[in-house]
């Protein structure tokens, strides 16, 4: 790997009072500017993995390096957290202010940024997440997807290099899910931000650069989404449904059509099938 921004070195973690390890020897390096999706069933350790990325949890043994900074170094905790913006599952429980723009300003205020600079960052963050027109709204009157975009704006205002989203769509309706996931992809593609998306929705991982599958505290699979999804035995073992598009392509290939494996988004899949039909005819 050329330029890893997150590095896990043989990380073990046991929750206090637990007997079982929640992470058992994770080795991982994440490339700067890439979009990494993490899948896994409940209790697989994917949330624990995420919480190690901004020093909310510190490894029992092994170490985590963010941009070369060891997260176990207590003097540098703020440095780590400024670099890694973290968005959680429940949007209500991470919004601290009664007005959207005041909430987005919370993180830079904590960092002691100058007032005029905070203003600039807040406006920029709201523009990036498409929430500018709601800047004076009360958060509790927004929809779930909008609240979650406010939460994303709230961490972007720290100007982090990495955005970690810990099941940000688990409590949202399909429309809200799309809003949030599209925002995350846009931040990676247009801004070069490194994004780690923890989820249990297969279709949110389709466009990722890299897909990790967590199982019992270790990484069970690691590769491009197309490669991981085509391993049916693994997907079934982990209780993960393959995206509809992957299943369709696989079935058609089995019946003798010449189709690629890596066209997993709905449009690409439709195009590939159309092309295959045209060439056959």
């Amino acid at each position: 790997m050329l330029n890893p921004v997150i590095v896990f070195e043989n990380v073990h973690y046991t929750y206090p009072g637990d007997e079982l390890e929640s992470l058992c020897g994770v080795d991982l390096a994440i490339e700067r500017g890439s979009f990494v999706a993490v899948l896994g069933r409940n209790g697989s350790g994917k949330s624990t993995l995420a919480k190690h990325m901004n020093a909310i949890l510190v490894p029992t043994s092994g170490r985590v390096l963010i941009d070369g900074i060891d997260t176990a170094d207590e003097a540098k905790v703020l440095e780590v957290r400024r670099r890694v913006g973290m968005v959680f599952q429940n949007p209500d429980n991470q919004i601290v202010a009664n007005v959207v723009e005041d909430d987005v300003a919370f993180a830079p205020e904590n960092l002691g940024v100058e007032p005029t600079e905070i203003r600039r960052r807040v406006d920029a963050a709201l523009a990036l997440t498409g929430m500018s027109e709601y800047s004076m709204h009360a958060p509790h009157l927004l929809s779930g997807g909008q609240k979650q975009r406010v939460a994303i704006a709230g961490v972007i205002a720290m100007e982090p290099e990495i955005l970690v989203l810990d099941e940000p769509t688990a409590m949202l309706d399909p429309l809200g899910r799309k809003e949030v996931v599209d925002t995350a992809y846009a931040l990676c593609k247009a801004r070069g931000m490194t994004v780690v998306l923890i989820t249990h929705h297969m279709d949110e991982c389709v466009d990722a650069d890299r897909l990790l599958v967590m199982s019992n505290g270790s990484i069970a699979a690691d590769g491009s989404p197309a490669a991981v999804f085509s391993d049916q035995a693994l997907m079934e073992r982990e209780g993960l449904g393959v995206p509809e598009t992957a299943r369709l392509l696989q079935a058609l290939r089995a019946s003798g059509m010449a189709l690629p494996e890596d066209r997993l988004d709905t449009e690409g899949c439709a195009e590939a099938i159309a092309q295959a039909i045209r060439t056959e005819a």
């Binding site: 959680f88 209500d92 429980n93 991470q94 601290v96 202010a97 009664n98 007005v99 205020e109 509790h140």
Partner: protein, 265 residues
């Protein structure tokens, strides 16, 4: 039914009262309360009422909204009025009655005092955003930090509480519906029975409030919150000419009220 609570509600606007610095408004509310308790005579009450009406008009908050805030206090108001009517000695209204002219007058003044007290303080929360309010309070109380009073922590807790009022109200409604769906009855029975019926609401509400608090703490830490040390503010509080004029008028008002009391008027 819970949606009617107006406590700590803020009505955004751009009136003179809205634009005043939060610190000015906090100080003026204290001045107002002190002045209100100087009122002894109808002249004094008349002056306070006039000033209150002027402030409400300047804030462009509809009087209807102001009265909505008074509504929850109706029970206390009626009770005080009753006590004053029946327990003040003086000349009876009709021979042999225990109701006296003095009692009626006292009762009216008491009711007026409570209504004015509520209106004055509500005008503050109606016209000041919670963030500005807590920021102003923090700055006013700042000298207490020398006495090791955790001023920042206290004001932070206050603003969090205000932030979560709507969320918790929503949650209470949800829990009530869920319990009703399982046959819980909140509307009938005596006082004791009704109080008991609230228990299945309070327990889940508390459990979820603690879970929320826990998640909120982690989210705040993730956003680099580390106490008040070295924090800056996006919205700086600024005292302008309007604030100086308002403070001067407040001082003049208080002086007038004290003078009236001294003169026995």
């Amino acid at each position: 039914m819970l949606k009617d609570i107006t406590l700590g509600q803020y009505f955004p606007g751009d009136s003179v009262v809205h634009r005043l610095d939060a610190r000015t408004k906090l100080v003026l509310v204290i001045v107002y309360i002190v002045a209100l308790f100087q009122a002894q005579s109808w002249l004094g009450f008349g002056l306070v009422t006039l000033v209150t009406a002027g402030c409400v008009a300047a804030s462009r908050i509809p009087p209807k909204t102001m009265f909505k805030g008074v509504k929850p206090m109706l029970f206390i108001i009626v009770l005080t009025a009753m006590l004053n009517i029946f327990y003040t000695s003086g000349t009876p209204v009709l021979p042999g009655w225990i109701i006296t002219w003095e009692g009626i007058s006292r009762a009216c003044q008491m009711v007026l005092r409570i209504v004015l007290l509520i209106s004055g303080t509500f005008l503050l929360t109606y016209t000041t955003s919670p963030i500005a309010l807590t920021d102003g309070l923090e700055m006013l109380l700042n000298p207490l930090r020398r006495l090791h009073v955790p001023v920042h922590e206290m004001t932070m807790m206050m603003s969090m509480a205000l932030r979560f009022i709507p969320t918790l109200i929503e949650e209470t409604d949800k829990i009530m519906s869920a319990q009703k769906a399982r046959g819980a009855d909140f509307e009938t029975g005596g006082l004791v029975q009704r109080a008991k019926a609230l228990l299945p609401i309070l327990v889940p509400l508390f459990v979820s409030a603690f879970r929320r608090a826990d998640e909120l703490a982690v989210a705040m830490e993730s956003r680099c919150y580390h106490g008040g040390e070295g924090r800056t503010r996006m919205k700086q509080l600024r005292m302008g000419r309007a604030d100086h004029i308002a403070l001067f008028l407040g001082a003049a008002f208080l002086a007038a009220m004290i003078a009236l009391k001294r003169l026995g008027l």
